[in-house]
Symmetry: C2
Subunit: 350 residues, 2 copies
């Protein structure tokens, strides 16, 4: 068991924000930092502040721009494509989702793609923006080509995530789906390797296309999709995010860590205005009934409670907002190393 350190969310946010602000405009630094801390709050640690060093390394290697200047490439009443021009994924993505919501509020629906972008953090960060505005939010992104299509031994997919967020009404957390289309995260294989444990055989294949339970062989190989269905969804995500936006797609997408070139990935954001379909009040009433049907139902054997999608993460967030975020000491030490370069000390933010 790793030693854990507890840090308050606002401390972590301010500290990471100060680090990024040494390199990029303060407003952008705040956005990126908030996005990473939100991931930790929800328990998506692989997309949390452990990414600070990775992002900065790519920035220092000249692979991400110092300021995000998006450009609208094409626009209709309900659609647009933004060129992120190799700026920060989080910054371009908030802009894109806000555009989608604005279009939805005016015309019923809005869908905005982003091209030439970078890692945007957790996908539900954006769909929740739509849900806060009375819309159903939808978001996807393509990602490093590390996963094989079902039945293939050649990677041409990322673990391409999909998120939906649907509002339930004032004072209620939204229903949130935020799922990778792969069977596992690469991070879990790394963890198995470090702890010397075997992995399930549906997580990854070897470099030459064989099943494996050996985490080392898996790390040298490729991830497996969540069966044919996950593979199909990952393909749709790649097409919406990569092909339709004019970004790189499929096997063209470089790897985030190994390939010293701009990622040029694409994202896709959608907003559907609920009021275009029915009065918001009626929708919320039905949604609260839909939630009750679920969480008040009896758990099956082996479960203690029944949760709505996103509820476990939301409860984790509320708990960590109150009690601080628990992170492995290695991540805290790495963050402190990064801050030292700029004379920033985490404990001064405490």
């Amino acid at each position: 068991m790793a030693e854990m350190i507890t840090v308050r969310a606002e401390v972590l946010r301010d500290y990471c924000s100060a680090i990024f602000a040494e390199s990029i405009p303060e407003e952008e630094a705040r956005i990126v930092s908030d996005n990473l801390v939100e991931a930790d709050l929800l328990g998506f640690y692989s997309h949390g502040v452990c990414k600070v060093a990775d992002y900065l390394k790519r920035f220092e290697d000249g692979l991400i721009e110092g300021k995000t200047n998006t450009e609208v490439i094409t626009e209709t009443a309900t659609t647009a494509v933004l060129d992120a021009k190799n700026g920060w994924g989080q910054v371009a993505s908030i802009e894109a989702m806000n555009m989608a919501v604005e279009k939805a509020v005016t015309y019923g629906t809005g869908f905005v793609g982003v091209r030439n972008s970078n890692h945007f953090g957790i996908t539900s960060y954006y769909t929740k923006l739509a849900a806060e505005k009375g819309c159903i939010g939808f978001a996807t992104t393509n990602a490093s080509s590390l996963m094989v299509p079902f039945g293939s031994k050649t990677p041409s997919l990322g673990t391409n995530p999909i998120s939906f967020a649907i509002p339930v009404g004032p004072g209620h957390a939204p229903v949130v789906v935020d799922m990778s289309t792969g069977n596992t995260a690469r991070g879990k294989i790394t963890h198995a390797y470090k702890t010397g444990t075997a992995i399930p055989k549906d997580w990854a294949i070897t470099k030459d296309g064989r099943e494996t339970t050996d985490p080392k062989e898996a790390l040298d190989g490729y991830l497996l999709p969540m069966g044919p269905k996950g593979s199909g969804l990952a393909m749709v995500v790649d097409i919406l995010s990569g092909v339709l936006t004019g970004s790189l797609f499929g096997s063209q997408v470089p790897r985030m860590y190994e390939d010293p070139v701009p990622q040029q990935i694409g994202h896709f954001f959608g907003a559907i205005n609920i009021e275009a379909f029915m009065p918001l009040e009626s929708f919320y009433e039905s949604m609260q009934e839909r939630v009750r049907q679920t969480i008040e139902s009896e758990p099956m054997a082996g479960f203690e409670r029944v949760y709505m999608p996103g509820q476990i993460e939301e409860e984790k967030k509320q708990h960590q907002l109150e009690n601080g975020i628990e992170l492995p000491i290695e991540i805290i030490q790495e963050l402190e190393e990064v801050g030292k370069k700029y004379g920033l000390k985490l404990f001064e933010y405490q």
Copy 2:
């Protein structure tokens, strides 16, 4: 192995159409019949002509209207809700998807929900209509409440399917995802029961919420979703199709066979106009590259070829269009029984 009979698609289509035309307008009969035969052509036999007798039984019991008179309940530039008024799911759904496509062609995107509807057959039947018009098609429907949310022992979900169809260019089959959000179809459990074989323990639970490998216990119990991700997607589908359209949702949805009441299910259709994002020609060029990356990749151990989503079904369809549809003799006999009532004989259509 069941004895199989081969029937040409157009024979089956005309015969089923003639049967339905005894009860509903000829145009509607043709639509329903074409939808069911298309399912058999693609190999989705559970949604094929085996449904003819089921549909007619519900019609004869007064549970489906004899003519589909849809009414537009609400409409904006890019959205609408149609009330199917307990008409035929297939008829209302084609109308809804055509509306969505028309809106997409004019405004970039179109999303149309249908309420108070009935079983609409295979989901990809509608998304392909959008793909034929240069749009990305999206469709969902909720269904009989036979599946539990992840961790629950109380059914409040159907096997709620999701489909996407994306055009690849003239002369190319579209990319088609058409997936249930459950781990298996109820039909497979029935088959296991009839053949006396055990089922995997992630297919279903018993009535009192325990895992089971006994198909009889499973049939008396409830279906399991495709893990937490499938459960989350099924919930989103129920909300889009049921809640947002003002239809029944969750545990309110009656079972198709056991409950002698109108189904009042809802569907949700979307179309995204590709030309609102980029010239169709460029999109097709990238799509063909996306297809090549996949199907020309080397298969992993245990696989002979790598397919695009929907390709296996499309090849099955082409084969069966040429050679006839192979169906178990029981289904043919059941169809002949139904036809006999109206003095219609299958062999006269051969």
